[in-house]
């Protein structure tokens, strides 16, 4: 399989072997990954529920977007750094698992959706507060929660399934 070849190449690279020498790096990186995931997920949840009008409307949609979206982007960047680090150290574990590629696909989808939403919000967030939230915005709200739940599911299950493909 092509991916196994790449994984082996990467695993034997100088960078990967140097990182593999520190056994504490993976648990540490995973912990930071979960910390960042928590910040991201709670921001996504609060933003989406606000967009859908669930719960008390303590602040305007424009304010919610303005304060939560930057945290979503910051958390995403930190998740990417720790995620890449873990993949560098254990490429085989990731590359052979179909759930890893499923996770990457879901991340690509949610990333594209979030960037598109960010652009849309920049132009029309103020209008959502005075009038109706468009169906597209509601769809984004629901999809982003669903996609992130799927991503968390894949992330946890990679650990239990990769051995099946080795």
């Amino acid at each position: 399989m092509m991916v196994v070849h790449w994984a082996k190449l990467l695993a034997h690279s100088r960078l990967s072997t140097a990182l593999q020498a520190h056994s504490w790096l993976v648990p540490l990186s995973q912990s930071v990954h979960i910390v960042c995931l928590s910040i991201l997920f709670v921001s996504v949840l609060m933003l989406s529920l606000r967009l859908m009008g669930v719960g008390r409307r303590r602040r305007s949609i424009a304010e919610a977007v303005g304060s939560l979206l930057p945290w979503i982007y910051r958390a995403l960047m930190a998740l990417a750094v720790t995620g890449v680090l873990q993949t560098l150290i254990e490429p085989m574990r990731q590359f052979v698992a179909p759930l890893f590629w499923t996770k990457m696909l879901l991340i690509a989808c949610v990333l594209a959706l979030t960037l598109a939403f960010g652009r849309l919000a920049q132009r029309s967030a103020s209008r959502w507060d005075t009038g109706q939230v468009t169906p597209v915005v509601r769809l984004y709200a629901i999809l982003s929660i669903a996609l992130w739940l799927g991503i968390i599911f894949c992330g946890r299950f990679i650990a239990y399934t990769y051995a099946l493909y080795l």
Partner: protein, 163 residues
């Protein structure tokens, strides 16, 4: 000795046996635990950063707390139920695990910190809702909470490598 026999009995209950012997029950419950803990920890971080005066300064402390607390408590109940299900499946091993013990010590300390904060300075929150920076005791409570809950996440992940 009583405790050990209790733990043994616990992990021999039909539910515990089902969780430890099924292929997907343990990872499935663990996934729910991760989803819930992300909401617990994330919502606590939002409040802590506001208490420290690092983020959300344009909003009142009481408003941020009122928005986040329902998330925290709802998710905490889910995380606790899922966590208990994971615990009973290997009760003896978890109980004797150092990281597991420290994790629960940190949760207990975080609980005490929260109680002191709510019974103390938070009663007069309307007096300092917008104060910059927030009063020292509020910043202290936020800092301690952030440190302890971060330790809980790290220790929790560490348990997975040592149990």
């Amino acid at each position: 000795l009583h405790l050990v026999s209790f733990l043994t009995a616990l992990q021999n209950t039909p539910l515990a046996v089902a969780i430890q012997s099924g292929d997907w029950l343990f990872p499935g419950i663990e996934t729910v635990h991760v989803m819930a803990l992300a909401i617990v920890y994330g919502s606590i971080v939002v409040v802590d950063l506001r208490l420290l005066g690092f983020a959300g300064r344009s909003r009142r402390v009481s408003e941020v707390a009122a928005e986040c607390l329902p998330y925290t408590w709802t998710a905490f109940v889910v995380a606790a139920i899922a966590g208990s299900a994971l615990f009973i499946s290997k009760a003896e091993r978890y109980f004797g695990n150092t990281q597991f013990e420290f994790k629960f010590l940190c949760i207990a300390l975080a609980g005490i910190n929260m109680l002191v904060f709510h019974r103390g300075i938070y009663r007069r929150v309307l007096e300092w809702d917008y104060t910059r920076p927030p009063p020292l005791s509020a910043r202290l409570a936020g800092g301690i909470s952030l440190g302890l809950w971060t330790a809980v996440v790290f220790l929790g992940r560490w348990v997975g490598f040592t149990v």
